[in-house]
Amino acid sequence: MLDTAAFINILTIFVLAIFVGFEVITKVPPILHTPLMSGSNAISGITVIGALLALGAGGGPVTTGLATAALFFATINVVGGFVVTHRMLSKFKKRD
């Protein structure tokens, strides 16, 4: 019973977040499509948190190894994504 209640809770969060995602993005000018994509790509590297939690939960060497590898890849995704987006956006200037 408790399990079901908890599941409904996170399902609610999931569905609402999808709607927020649709609403937030709708009218983006094409010039920002690439930075938007690489910026949201960096956010999808949120799996770093999953990797940290899996690593911290303890477990055998296999679990630890997999979690560390996940942390490594997700960090490339996050850090690389934000840096490259920043680099791109710094090029978008309006000259007068």
Partner: protein
């Protein structure tokens, strides 16, 4: 730190992600939006480490520092022309991280159950379904992105790879993956099945991306971006973790919106891009008739003289500009013309290039002000009053066939109406067809002049000729 405090911190991070994405959608706030996202991520990471009491710090530090160094080096070193494949590669890394986290949690759960948790289930239904979903979607994202990267980087053929029974093979592999997923849900203790699922899903990723041609890559990259978000959300369900679910579904939803925008710009459905595909149809037969005796070749000097007398000039760049790295010449010519009080602007087709917004990034790197970059719908009404349009490395997106006749692979695709300008100069290596494989009547139009050659070299000649004229 209590679990409630960590969850509050995750809420702050989630709000920062939403505000960040929102701000990324407006030119003036985009830089701030990206920083908000990064701050949200940093908060979530530091909060998680604090909550866990900084355990396994040597591994954590190794993963975080190693990943950061590689991420920064890739992000700083990459040429702007290679941006599409880098974004594709980062997508893949996000996907593989989801696969590994779900696998780690699965193995840990099985080990815990063996240690004598008794008859308790290894995983709840939510966790096992989410584990299978993470493995499936994450692995499709990973290898799909690697293939997309390979196609853009040039070590996998850019051509659509099609074969008989292609759809059947895909359906069989997908079916197999779904059966394996069901077996994992029924009996999570068989961890080896998880890795078989991951392998099969990786094959599916390859099968899905191989048949897609280079010009459809913007759509694939946007779609894989969406998948990487969905994979992260699935991992959030494995861990019952709010911030993974929120951030993952935000990215999943925004990726779908971007994908739809791209499809609309090509007047094709997503199903058509993924399963139908252009490129298979090649009709060069009539090419001779269309071009025979009507194509007028010109020289840089002649074009320079025409430009000198113009008062309004528009560039229409395409993927060819990126390949030839001709954008510097474009900027130099723009500056020279503007010094003569010629109004210069740029017509950007939404799917020009290999990534959404590809042309904008290249021109922005040349310090061309973004208010000169005009969208298709905004610039089309102005072409009739434009003196010269310079089409640089674009083909299908300016092909009047899309507008005039039914039955061609690009019929109905919205195009830039460059043929309505007084003079059109097309810079191109040859008369070879574009990605859609069809002839372009624009090249034979009365008001069109062809300037044959390599984009970069031609632009350099044009700049020199313009300054001499």
């Amino acid at each position: 730190m209590q679990p409630e405090h960590l969850n509050l911190l995750y809420l702050v991070a989630a709000v920062l992600f939403i505000m960040g994405l929102k701000s990324l959608g407006h030119p003036r706030t985009a830089v701030r939006g990206n920083i908000l996202g990064a701050v949200g991520m940093a908060l979530a990471v530091v909060g998680t480490l604090w909550y866990q009491g900084f355990v396994h710090m040597e591994l954590v530090a190794g993963g975080l520092i190693g990943g950061s160094i590689i991420g920064i080096v890739l992000a700083v070193r990459i040429k702007m022309t290679a941006m599409p494949q880098l974004v594709g590669l980062f997508n893949g890394f996000g996907g593989v991280a989801s696969v590994l986290v779900a696998g780690a949690v699965l193995i840990a759960a099985v080990a815990t159950a063996l240690m004598g948790a008794g008859s308790a289930a290894i995983m709840s239904a939510q966790e096992s379904v989410a584990t299978a979903a993470s493995g499936l979607i994450g692995a499709v994202t990973f290898l799909g992105s690697v293939i997309a990267f390979g196609k853009l980087q040039g070590f996998v053929t850019e051509k659509p790879v099609r074969y008989h029974g292609e759809q059947v093979v895909k359906i069989l592999v997908l079916g197999g993956a779904l059966v394996l997923s069901a077996m994992i849900v029924l009996d999570p203790s068989r961890t080896e099945l998880y890795w078989v699922l991951v392998g099969l899903a990786a094959v599916l990723g390859v099968l899905l991306v191989m048949p897609i041609g280079g010009a459809d890559m913007p759509i694939v990259i946007a779609l894989l971006n969406s998948y990487s978000g969905i994979a992260a959300a699935a991992t959030g369900f494995v861990l019952s973790n709010n911030v993974l679910i929120v951030a993952g579904s935000l990215v999943g939803a925004s990726g779908i919106i971007l994908t739809q925008n791209m499809c609309k710009a090509m007047n094709r459905s997503l199903a058509n891009v993924l399963f139908g595909g252009v490129g298979a149809i090649v009709e060069n037969k009539e090419q001779g008739d269309i071009y025979a005796g009507k194509v007028k070749s010109t020289s840089a000097e002649e074009v320079a003289m025409i430009l000198k007398t113009a008062s309004r000039v528009a560039f229409v760049p395409g993927y060819g500009m990126a390949v030839a790295r001709a954008q510097t010449g474009v900027r130099l010519l723009t500056e020279a013309m503007e010094a003569d009080d010629i109004h210069v602007e740029f017509g950007i087709h939404p799917v020009a290039g290999r990534m959404p917004g590809h042309m904008n990034v290249l021109l922005a790197e040349e310090n061309i002000s973004y208010d000169k970059l005009r969208e298709m719908d905004a610039i089309n009404p102005d072409f009739p009053s434009t003196d010269v349009v310079i089409v640089l490395g674009a083909n299908d997106v300016v092909n009047p066939i899309a507008r005039e006749s039914a039955g061609s692979p690009i019929s109905g695709m919205p195009i830039l109406d460059v043929d309505k300008a007084r003079t059109v100069v097309v810079i191109k290596r040859s008369l070879s067809p574009g990605f859609a494989g069809i002839a372009n009547p624009l090249f034979a139009a009365d008001n069109t002049l062809m300037l044959f050659g390599d984009g970069k070299k031609v632009m350099e000649e044009l700049v020199a000729a313009y300054k001499d004229a």
